[in-house]
Subunit: 192 residues, 2 copies
Amino acid sequence: MAKANVKEQIVATGLELLHSKGFNATSVQDITDAAGVPKGSFYNHFTSKEALGLEVLQRYAEGVSQVAAVLRDRALPPRQRLQQYFERLIAGNAANEFNFGCMLGNFSTELSNQIPAMRSAMREAFAGSTAALAAVIAEGQQEGSISADAPADELADFVNDAWQGAVLRAKAEQSRAPLERFTRMALGRILA
Amino acid sequence: MAKANVKEQIVATGLELLHSKGFNATSVQDITDAAGVPKGSFYNHFTSKEALGLEVLQRYAEGVSQVAAVLRDRALPPRQRLQQYFERLIAGNAANEFNFGCMLGNFSTELSNQIPAMRSAMREAFAGSTAALAAVIAEGQQEGSISADAPADELADFVNDAWQGAVLRAKAEQSRAPLERFTRMALGRILA
C-alpha cells in the first residue's frame, strides 16, 4: 500500500473500532491487524493511540456536521429541519442497532478525565453542533414557530445534551425508544 | 486483614477507581495496589474484573437510590422534592469537580456493547431511578403542580436521560453549567 493509503486505512479502521469498542478496549495492534497493515507502520503516521484518537474524533465530528447540514437548509421551515435532523441522527444509531452510541458522548465519558487534549477537542465539537442548532432555533423563534421564552443558545445546549443522554440510554438498553422519546419531547415540549 | 475486610476494601477501592478512571483504564493490579491487598487475594473474592464491576455498579446504584430518598419525602411538595433531588445530584458531581461523571452513564457508554451482564445491570439501575422520579411526577400531576399532558413515566424517562446527557457534558467541559441548565429546563419547562 502507498503511504497515504496506509494512513487513511488506519484512520478509517480506527474510527470503526474506537467507535464500536471504545478507546481503552482497543489496542494499536487491534487497529493495525484489522487494517491489514504492519504494526510498525502505525508509528510512521501517529505518535500514539491518543494522536489517532484525536484525528478520528475530528473526522467523526465532520460526519456529524454533514448530518447537521439539513439545519441550514432554508428551503425548509425551521421545525421541519429539526425533525429531519433528529430523524437522520436516529437512523445513524439504528445502522448499528443502537450498540455504538455517539463517539462524542463515548469519548466524553471515557476520556475527559484521562486525556486533556481530548477534553478540548470535545468542547470544540459540542460547540460546533450546538451552534448549528441554536441558529435554526433562533430562526424559529423569529418566525414564531418556537417559543422565545428562553435564549436560543440555552435551548440548543439543553437539546444537545438531552440528545447525548438519550443516545447513552439507547445504547444501554439497545433500544430505539429513548431516541423517539427525545424527538417527541424536544419538538413537542422544549422547542414548542 | 480479615477476609471480609479484604473484600470490602477491594469493593470500596474498585468503586473509586472504576468511577474516576473508567473500567478498561483500570487493571485488577491497580485496584489491589491501591487497596493495599495482595493481587492474588482479588481472585479469592471475584472471578474477574467484570464480576467486581457488577458488584461496584450495584453499590453505586444503592448510593443513587439513597439520594433519591428525598423524592419520597411526603413532608415536601413534589416540585420541592425534585428541586432538592437535582441539587443533591449536582453536589455529588461538584464533589469531584465534575470530573468523574455518573458511573451508570460511564458504564453505559463504555461497556454496554462489551459486557452483556453490564447492560442488564444498567437497565435495572435506570428502571429504579426513573420509577422514583415517575412517582413524584405523578403526585405533582395529581395536585396540579406539574402539567399532565404527558404520562409521568414518559416525563421521568426523558428527565433521567436528559440528566445523563447533562452530566456527560459537565464531565466533558469540567463545568457546572450543564447541570444548572438541566435543572432550569427540567423544572421550568419539562415539568412545568
